[in-house]
Symmetry: D2
């Protein structure tokens, strides 16, 4: 059983080619646009015509303005179920894979009504960074977090170095819920 099913989570599927959008949309609960496709306008428009929620990852080199413009390409085709996902930006600092732009959360909330989540797994790229960054995301007021979990990270085909074990994920959720409770947030 996948970790996704264990925790009752939706099936999020990434789409890479405008020709595949219909097929992906027919199976997925949520269609995801990855960071390298944030400016793929043909793909954005096609996704905008689907009856499924879209998770739009920020381009790791995109400004907030460019990100919200990309969301607009989806929105204007009629699909208004858009979730923004901050996943770190490229900077001069190379000690982490990318620099999580935590400031993006309150800024986007002031510029847009769209929900914004944080991905602490891909931004840092290291397992030991996931929990602190997830807690930072709750502290800053993000609408949600997305965390990589794998039952056997060392044998994962991709992204194993940043994946939590299901037990670590469960522990993280405990502290996240406690923090959210203090801040009066729903979980």
């Amino acid at each position: 059983m996948e970790a996704r099913e264990q925790f009752g989570l939706p099936f999020v599927a990434e789409v890479l080619d405008s020709r595949d959008v219909g097929l992906v949309s027919s199976y997925a609960d949520i269609i995801r646009i990855g960071t390298r496709n944030m400016s793929n306008y043909a793909l954005l428009a096609e996704v905008g015509r689907q009856p499924k929620p879209v998770m739009l990852k920020r381009g790791f080199t995109a400004t907030l303005e460019e990100w919200l413009n990309a969301a607009e390409y989806i929105y204007k085709e009629g699909n208004h179920q858009i979730i923004l996902m901050e996943r770190g930006i490229r900077t001069f600092e190379t000690a982490s894979r990318n620099t999580l732009d935590i400031t993006a959360v309150p800024l986007v909330k002031a510029m847009s009504h769209l929900p914004i989540m944080v991905d602490p797994s891909h931004s840092g790229g290291k397992r030991e960074l996931v929990a602190p960054l997830a807690r930072a995301a709750v502290g800053v007021g993000a609408d949600g977090i997305m965390v990589d979990v794998h039952p056997s990270p060392d044998t994962a085909k991709v992204d194993g170095a940043q994946a939590l074990l299901p037990s670590e994920f469960a522990d993280l959720m405990e502290s996240v819920k406690a923090l959210a409770g203090v801040l009066g947030l729903k979980t």
Copy 2:
């Protein structure tokens, strides 16, 4: 009465010139090296010979490695009371003054035993960002925060746009203490 005195806080004084270090050290509780002087090695060495704690702000364009090397310049002269202060880095994003590198906190904690604080006022440069970023700093596990407070921000000579009123600061401290309590941190 200054906000500093109202809250029983130390007198932190910035030093800009190697010739002024002795004088500043004789009055200040904590000597501060500003972001633009992080690589001023003459200044670092001179501060390293003082009997006062030093707050070393990260250069806004410095890597973590360069920052810790700068701390080493102080340390090797005999002054081991060093506080690191993350205050945001220069990136391509211009929606905030700088990008708070929240990932720096767990990374520095893995690389060094020195305490690391976060400055949510200078990184964002806007009053409305201070509270969310301060809460992110607590969530990520920072050893402290430094916040600009002014009784009349609109008439402040510098940095008024990012200063909190004393009453806003007191409110922020309430939520910071509550978050820290959940995480088992001392305040």
Copy 3:
């Protein structure tokens, strides 16, 4: 008559969607992949199956390694007629639209056998920068330059601010040829 025809230049057409590649390929002399599509792997693969030369612009946030990897996506499908086009990268400097990475030219020449050209129009974004940057490109050893020319820049629908008049272009070509002659380059 277009400036292109006046100077006997090829018809370069940009393709944005993997579904349009066949159509564009049937009309264009050279298929262009724009800077925002450099990581659109579906598009790269489709272009790699066409019998036409491809101009691959560098993503304005792509490293040289990522750029050459993108070229590999085209190459491995069988199309080996690839021209690389350096057009400036996103940096902290905002005085010009982008920062022309002139160092990319000798670096790419050491890493790859593919020809590399320079676009002085899009990198700077200002007419007065075109001639100096074009001459820098010749000096650094680029295999060619691509320059925006328009008979009436003030009425151009796009990119008018960076377009040269045909007469300015002719003047620039004179100095480019003279420089290339000194360096023993063919023009």
Copy 4:
């Protein structure tokens, strides 16, 4: 005999501490402010009171506006003999040590009357990049270049990897003079 003397070049000495400015000024033909001290305002002011020309290297993370402001700190103290030196900026690209911002040359010429030179040695950090970048600097219209030369680069205490042999330097000067001649520049 130093390469400097062989080619009849001035003695350029870098100053690091405001307390040493007088001493350095008494020996040097040109006082140099290094890239890490561009924002050291105490040092800039002190150098501004000396009767010697100053070479102000661009901070490798400084905007053109910040660089010209730093020059103003020298200028307003009375020293108007200022030479600006572009030496590359920090970007996401790590294939070269820094990214030479060749666009800075025409931009600075439009913003200021100060002469601007280019340092192709420190920006690229590799010997094989020096000649192409030097020729790019001539092409773009720089007022001069500064090149690292060493009779035995492999045994140089610093910066050997980017130093030319005197014979390589002489060869480079030949092509530089030829290019400058085509452009009608004095050498």
